[in-house]
């Protein structure tokens, strides 16, 4: 296009009088402007496509997950007759049985064994633990009736939240007509209520959706990130300082640089293979623990941190180094007391971004066995633990509809962590950014 225009300009000046160059240009102008507009539109559309996808992703997750922050509770009157609570050891009484008899007394007409089982299924198996906690924390008198809001089963929860439709044929929903009638009676008595789901934020994993919580995974993530941070921050900064400030230009340092750049682009799952073969099999470190997970993630984030720290060191002008050298500091003193403090905000920003990456990483942790089903909330670096992304992966695999909303809610929690970490990084960059 340009070439042809150029040629005609030259041609016209040589032989004026015949076809003027400007006419040729004008003739093609409309078409070229149309092309220009179309090109611009493509650019706009591709931006729009990515933003639209982001919006679609976020709304679908919020839409799927917001209801997990509420949980359906059922009010149950529990009559405590004589002999029900063990006098010597109240913790060892048959709480499951007490709950069952309380349910039976609310529905006296249910007598068939099959019906009873379907009736009990409306209540969570966690109800017995709730009763136990209430009884232990505040021992009631015999013969009184405790009025207790107990957890509903996840199917009831889904029904109350509208994820299970009542008007579909009986075969295609998980609750049958009989169970629906029982629930309707509870609703008529105002015994069903949705409340804020505290279990979700305080419990570990569970096979029962209504008892499953994210807290175990959050704590596992915190322990893992602590290990990663404690190792990768000092090591990353030391490596960056050496490579940027002291390293002689030779084959060895070139080799280190090539290695770092390549490691930054190695698939994360390969780091998992390394962790499995070296840390678990060779050194015999404990499986599924934050310790090993943190070390593997450290190796993975190290290149990110080193590259960011080197950029921060590069940004410190040489005049500062020269001034410090001029008043008699040693090379190390120059770096430690002049260059490092100025580069530290940039290094911290890089570290936060690296940590955010590590927090969202799943694949290498699958390799070192952090996919186990772990109910207990981890209490240390060598306890088996899950981390948040792995918990999301595990729940996403569960067939229950209630786990879909819990997965989405866990994603929201994870994204909240990530976005706040990135926001801190952005604020720090804005606040401490210095142009020399």
């Amino acid at each position: 296009m340009i070439k042809s225009t150029k040629k005609s300009v030259v041609g016209s000046s040589a032989s004026s009088g015949r076809i003027k160059a400007i006419d040729i240009v004008n003739k093609g102008l409309k078409r070229r402007y149309r092309k220009e507009k179309r090109f611009r539109l493509y650019g706009m559309l591709s931006i729009l496509a990515s933003v639209a996808f982001l919006a679609f992703l976020l709304t679908s997750i919020v839409f799927n997950g917001y209801s997990a922050f509420l949980q359906t509770y059922i009010k149950l009157d529990v009559p405590l007759e004589a002999g029900m609570i063990d006098k010597q050891e109240p913790g060892r009484s048959d709480f499951q049985g007490i709950i069952k008899s309380a349910i039976r007394s609310y529905y006296p007409e249910v007598t068939e064994r099959q019906d009873k089982r379907e009736l009990y299924a409306l209540f969570s198996s966690g109800a017995a633990f709730q009763l136990r906690d209430t009884v232990l924390s505040n021992p009631p008198e015999e013969g009184t009736t405790l009025s207790l809001w107990v957890l509903a089963d996840d199917d009831v929860d889904m029904l109350m939240k509208g994820h299970m439709k009542r008007d579909v044929p009986e075969g295609s929903r998980r609750l049958n007509d009989k169970q629906l009638r029982w629930i309707e009676r509870l609703e008529a008595d105002k015994r069903v209520e949705k409340r804020f789901n505290t279990t979700f934020f305080s419990a570990g994993d569970s096979r029962e959706p209504e008892l499953a919580g994210i807290w175990g995974a959050v704590k596992g993530s915190i322990y893992t990130m602590l290990v990663t941070l404690a190792l990768s921050f000092p090591i990353g900064i030391c490596a960056a300082v050496y490579l940027e400030e002291f390293a002689p230009k030779n084959l060895a340092t070139d080799f280190i640089e090539v290695n770092i750049n390549n490691l930054a682009a190695v698939p994360s799952i390969v780091f998992g293979l390394l962790g499995l073969a070296v840390f678990l099999n060779f050194f015999g470190m404990p499986r599924s623990t934050p310790l090993v997970g943190g070390i593997v993630l450290m190796l993975m984030t190290l290149p990110t941190i080193i590259i960011a720290s080197r950029a921060a060191l590069k940004a410190v002008p040489p005049s500062i180094r020269e001034a410090a050298l001029g008043v008699g500091s040693s090379k190390l003193q120059v770096v430690a007391s002049h260059v490092l403090p100025l580069a530290l905000p940039g290094m911290l920003t890089g570290t936060i971004i690296g940590m955010a990456q590590a927090l969202g990483e799943t694949a290498p942790l699958l390799m070192i066995g952090m996919v186990a089903f772990i109910v207990d909330i981890p209490g240390g670096f060598t306890d088996p633990a899950a981390v948040m992304p792995v918990q999301i992966y595990l729940w996403a695999d569960s067939p229950e509809r209630a786990f879909v909303e819990r997965t989405s809610a866990a994603i929201m929690v994870l994204l909240a962590f990530l976005i706040s970490m990135n926001a801190v990084a952005v604020v720090m960059r804005k606040r401490f950014e210095r142009r020399w």
Binding site: N262, V266, L274, A277, L418
Partner: protein, 462 residues
């Protein structure tokens, strides 16, 4: 004493060492008449003491920690009764892991025999002795180091130079970790992969057309032949990556062009952070989204037109992976396009080219090596991506080019082979390492080519 407690104690000791060393230096300076009489500032004498206190002890501690388990296990096995030691190696390994399980309170396969119980007790007592010895040795070494330096502190001691030497050494060690990581990756994967290739010939693995890694546990089991031809797996990986690049390359490139050449500051300041968010979303979230929303969407719209789409279609995984890579492509191309000198743009405008003509005929050809490098990095990213395909792509290895069918990828196979029970003597588990080797070499080659492209390009305009 637990390792963590010992570590804290060591830290406390070195802090004490720092203060003791500094105090001695200060008191020496007072006697000699001012700090200027000392070779170094008092801080350096303190730091030197602290270093000698913690570093030797710490390294000893680390070395012991890494070999403790194997030494104790070896000692325990040596003390097992004759008939247990005469077991074949595989059975002996099971016995050892059972004993360790018993020690850690884990589940044990089979019944707990008195032999195992006594071995477990032996193990625990050995462990206790080992921990006691370590604690004593570490503390003795730490205190000895501290006292040694403390006695040597004189005004003439070149403390600063010594401290700087140690710090320099630490810096060098830290920067070589990248090399150790690479070496570790190569050795560990290679070792297991070679063991795999001893059982399955390399050519069968690379050129075989059937992949079904389930091995028969019993002789008469049906359907678990154990075929390790990886071509369908490679083909699936390429198919999904191709779909992803088909989405990401044009959209990412056009976004970068629009942002750097057309968009004004305001729009850029809104769109760039949004793209960064898209880049920061964890891949497990994309995977969930692909499996829960995109795959059913494609399946249902396919059903509308009467096309049978698999619920784990390559299209769904590839599509979402493409979206994941868009910000990656866009930010790399953005850097590259911005690096094209302004004079080239001005030249094109001055001969009357429109913006799009300038971009298409001048900027993109000038930036091409950089763009190609960025795209190659994106491809290597797509090949190594794990969670999206694990959650949204299939497990069965179909050799097909139809994006509506389910295919499997290298990363999916690695995850499925290694999650769950692992036996490091069966080809099934080892196959994962062979696949990992292929993955590592493939992405490494792509990265090296891409980085040379980018570097060449940078040099051209720097």
């Amino acid at each position: 004493m637990s390792p963590l407690l010992l570590f804290l104690l060591l830290l406390l000791l070195s802090v004490t060492g720092f203060f003791i060393g500094r105090r001695k230096a200060v008191s020496l300076a007072k006697k000699a008449g001012g700090t200027s009489r000392l070779h170094s500032l008092p801080v350096y004498y303190g730091t030197l003491t602290a270093f000698w206190c913690c570093l030797p002890a710490f390294f000893m501690f680390l070395i012991w920690l890494s070999f403790e388990q194997s030494i104790i296990t070896w000692l325990m096995v040596a003390d097992l009764p004759e008939q247990a030691r005469a077991l074949p190696p595989a059975r002996l390994n099971v016995l050892i892991s059972d004993i360790q399980g018993l020690v850690n309170g884990n589940i044990v396969s089979g019944e707990v025999t008195p032999l195992m119980r006594s071995a477990a007790e032996h193990y625990i007592s050995l462990k206790g002795i080992s921990q006691m010895i370590t604690s004593v040795m570490v503390l003795v070494v730490a205190i000895a180091g501290m006292l040694m330096v403390h006695r040597q502190i004189k005004p003439e001691l070149r403390a600063r130079n010594q401290v700087e030497k140690v710090v320099m050494g630490l810096l060098v060690v830290c920067s070589t970790i990248a090399i150790f990581t690479t070496v570790g990756i190569v050795l560990s994967i290679l070792y297991e992969a070679v063991r795999f290739f001893q059982q399955i010939p390399v050519t069968d693995f690379l050129f075989g057309l059937e992949w079904s890694p389930q091995m028969a546990i019993r002789e008469d089991q049906v359907g678990s032949s154990g075929a390790f031809g990886a071509v369908p797996v490679f083909a699936g990986t390429i198919l999904i990556s191709a779909i992803a690049m088909f989405i990401a390359a044009p959209i990412g490139l056009m976004s970068a062009i629009f942002l750097s050449e057309y968009a004004d500051r305001r729009l850029r300041s809104v769109v760039k952070p949004l793209l960064e968010i898209l880049a920061g979303v964890p891949t497990v979230v994309y995977g969930f989204f692909a499996a829960l929303v995109v795959a059913p969407l494609i399946r249902n719209s396919g059903a509308q037109f009467g096309i049978d789409v698999s619920s784990e279609s390559a299209l769904a995984a590839g599509l979402v992976m493409g979206v994941m890579i868009i910000p990656f492509v866009s930010s790399l191309s953005d850097d590259v396009i911005n690096a094209v000198p302004q004079s080239l743009r001005d030249g094109a405008y001055s001969v009357g080219a429109t913006r799009s003509e300038t971009i298409k005929d001048v900027l993109v050809p000038a930036a091409l090596p950089g763009i190609v490098g960025g795209l190659l990095l994106a491809v290597s990213r797509a090949i190594g991506e794990t969670m999206i395909v694990v959650m949204a792509a299939g497990l069965s290895a179909n050799l097909t080019a139809n994006p509506l069918q389910a295919v499997t990828t290298v990363t999916v196979q690695i995850v499925t082979l290694l999650v769950g029970d692992q036996e490091f003597d069966s080809p099934k588990t080892l196959a994962a390492f062979a696949l990992g080797l292929v993955l590592f070499i493939g992405t490494l080659l792509l990265n090296i080519i891409a980085l040379t492209f980018v570097r060449k390009y940078r040099e051209r305009y720097d």
